[in-house]
Symmetry: D2
Subunit: 290 residues, 4 copies
Amino acid sequence: MSESVMHIDLNADLGESFGAWRMGADSAVIASITSANVACGYHAGDPAVMRATVRLARDAGVAVGAHPGLPDLIGFGRREIRVSPQDVEDLVLYQIGALAAVAAAEGVRLQHVKAHGALYNMAVRDRSLADAIARAIKAFDPALIMFGLPGSEMIQAGQREGLTVAAEGFADRAYEPDGSLTPRSRPGSVIHDVDEVVHRAVRMASEGRVTATDGSDIPLRVDTLCTHGDTPGAPEMTRRLRQGLETARWWPRRSDGCSMHLTSCCGRWCSRRSCRISGSTREPPASWVP
Amino acid sequence: MSESVMHIDLNADLGESFGAWRMGADSAVIASITSANVACGYHAGDPAVMRATVRLARDAGVAVGAHPGLPDLIGFGRREIRVSPQDVEDLVLYQIGALAAVAAAEGVRLQHVKAHGALYNMAVRDRSLADAIARAIKAFDPALIMFGLPGSEMIQAGQREGLTVAAEGFADRAYEPDGSLTPRSRPGSVIHDVDEVVHRAVRMASEGRVTATDGSDIPLRVDTLCTHGDTPGAPEMTRRLRQGLETARWWPRRSDGCSMHLTSCCGRWCSRRSCRISGSTREPPASWVP
Amino acid sequence: MSESVMHIDLNADLGESFGAWRMGADSAVIASITSANVACGYHAGDPAVMRATVRLARDAGVAVGAHPGLPDLIGFGRREIRVSPQDVEDLVLYQIGALAAVAAAEGVRLQHVKAHGALYNMAVRDRSLADAIARAIKAFDPALIMFGLPGSEMIQAGQREGLTVAAEGFADRAYEPDGSLTPRSRPGSVIHDVDEVVHRAVRMASEGRVTATDGSDIPLRVDTLCTHGDTPGAPEMTRRLRQGLETARWWPRRSDGCSMHLTSCCGRWCSRRSCRISGSTREPPASWVP
Amino acid sequence: MSESVMHIDLNADLGESFGAWRMGADSAVIASITSANVACGYHAGDPAVMRATVRLARDAGVAVGAHPGLPDLIGFGRREIRVSPQDVEDLVLYQIGALAAVAAAEGVRLQHVKAHGALYNMAVRDRSLADAIARAIKAFDPALIMFGLPGSEMIQAGQREGLTVAAEGFADRAYEPDGSLTPRSRPGSVIHDVDEVVHRAVRMASEGRVTATDGSDIPLRVDTLCTHGDTPGAPEMTRRLRQGLETARWWPRRSDGCSMHLTSCCGRWCSRRSCRISGSTREPPASWVP
């Protein structure tokens, strides 16, 4: 099996509960994905939820990433706020650091950063905000992978800062001819038919193409596929998605290149910098390995 | 000058502004202190304030520590909240991580952690909460120094976890015969006479003793003296305190052992583990040194 | 059917969703209750949730009351915070006012106020906090009914301020011999057997007695029974509770004296659709009737 | 002195402290103004600050109005958030109600509502948001006066709902030729010369005109003048502004028509509906008059 073409990452937004409020079917979805985007307290998540989510991901061999959002609990980070690039750099940094600390206490090192909700959407088209996110990631740890929409300002910003970037596809979302996502307010923007979603996912993975809303076939090369964890049928959809990819001989694998099964790895947990087994030049801090 | 007896740390709470609200005379106080306790967003401080405060401290050669508090902006973290030890461990971890990330982006590594307000007071007498704070510190970075009231549960908790602890004295606060602080609600709990404050500080430093409210002389060995930064006369009080200590041949120095004058140091930034110049055995991560 | 003895109010906590997070089975529970305690934004609820909940209650002929809590979203208002009586008076006033405005926009006047969670528990035993709640209620509208635990400081505080009070029983909770609730941390504190719950409810209503944890029979005269809306079996439990009471010839009715069926209204005061009667001596403000 | 032409209201934003943080020179500014816009907890203010501010205004005979803002403490309500009209209606209602309750406890009835910061700016140009504010005001109390920028969507929305509106002028702000405010980001947008500010205020009051940034003279009829309370020279500027108006024989008076000097009034407090002395047709609720 060639590493360069036959692996793909499956990511989902996890840890979106808050205090007494539950959201998502994290423990059902976790079995099918390879990377978890964990909310960091600004739009969802709290320190206890963050710790439980990191532990869930770690025990499943799923990579953990920060999912920083705008400071808007009532709006779940989905409402655009006119923030400055400096605001964004600071609030992303704050949230990455908070999650990284909680993760470290559970023996986990962060794999990636994916902006959440309105922050993601704003950074897709606003270069200065995308650059701010990339700067925050680089300042914290230049080895973190930056997730973003292919062809967007985010991917370019990550590349400008010298970060590893992962282009993200949404198998259950409609695309415009220019490669942007069809806004959720538009009918047909979300695809509910599971077979159709699986078909599109396999095509994105194997052909790097997707059919846009006008019927045209557009290029969409992706490194990671996002599957939604907070809808009623999420666990089933995610399971089917993984199954469909495996049938097409696409093996889900974390963006940092670890196998899900960890057998040839460091044992209990795993991160890009530590699990290259013999060739590892940079070990995680002793305190991170229980 | 013998290093073991003639140095003492001067710490103050900084970065207590929030959004559009200013608090404290940080830029005036910074010249006199050696360690800054920086609010982390739960009771005060926001990502922008945190970054500005770290920068201010770094440029003055002042060590930066996390000052985590209870989640209570309206109450400024001064109202006790019945939190569980696990709550405390998680919220301290979250806040240390958030500040550490902001600090890293400014080339600064944290020196210490000092609990704020009601969290400090609760941990002074509640072993399970003190242990929770110590566990959070150790999980994040066992090299962080834990500040606490001498003889309290905090100091013992830090020692149980194998942390370096720093016993803290309050020169402008009255003490009970048992070594606890006289509650602020009691008259005379805060000493406003500058000469008296300086006198008490010098005695704490040089004799390890202080006069309690009943006139008795009690032992109080301290490694760091706290001076308040948010009162009207704070800058003057702090300046006089430092002057008084220097006159008594006590040289203020960061808890991590760096000199205030960075000339013989690593240059731009400084931390216990890096600035022992030639003898350094553990370098900071490459990403932290711009 | 004698009005004076054969009616009882059934209340439940509603409107505990927040932003994107759902909680409770409000639309299922509403059919069985007569009074709704609506969260006001400090521990749960937001302006949109509050409006939807008021509308749901209004359309079901269910009375609306304010359910003010401590400012603690993460802790859902269940963690005690050391607040002063003045703090409590102000935050209760604020929350009552906020809900009253939302309710007025939906043509509804508030019937009652019931403190939530830790605030309720603190006021049960702390006279100064109970008085603060009663003062806030009286200052806003002396016609509001104050709910509280029978025999507690709350009931006495309401009476001292000249308010109408409603003693509240919890059919699914165990009682100590002194009439206080068995703390939730103790095993057996919550009764899950539906038949047992119904039996206790009917006894509270008809005999004014309940069996305490030591087997003794204690007096417990109640005006309103609380049923929990946020547990999995809540709708079924509430339905059975109502059914059991009706079978015992206890007719559930709002604390303000309206019948559920609104035909024989309007007694003291009432809401838009019920009080159009002829004999009403106190009409709601003209502005409240669209 | 003719009532119809020689009176003008002077308003300022007050009560912008929050918890332990102080902002503004409220007690110095209060002597010169006639209407206070009081923050309601979403962008500034808390229940205790609100109560203290209402008391300060009441004792000075200054009218109290709600100053609702976007839910953004860190951004002080100055960052635009993409909220829906329904969101705005609900959050304005919530905040008006909260302040009205606190005010009622101090014997004060609200005079007006003025949106704050980004909410004000958004409603100036967005009809659906302006309508939402007007609907919230009307639903709560159709007698409340709606403040807004002359010629803007806000004034028209208020008129569509049948509200009394008050056109507001900013004597210390530059105007564009189309009557809009010059954005703060533009140099010269704020006028600091006190004489110039007073001159512009008197012209707005007496001639209904102001000189725009291109030197042209544009119409600007105003009912109330806003003076800023949170800048260093605010008390002096406000005092001079009032003095200048009085010299020009413009007598500052509340928008609800009360004189500042309450001697011929109802005594302790005053509101439009009650203080027309003999001719009063609608008395305030008995509970509001201590």
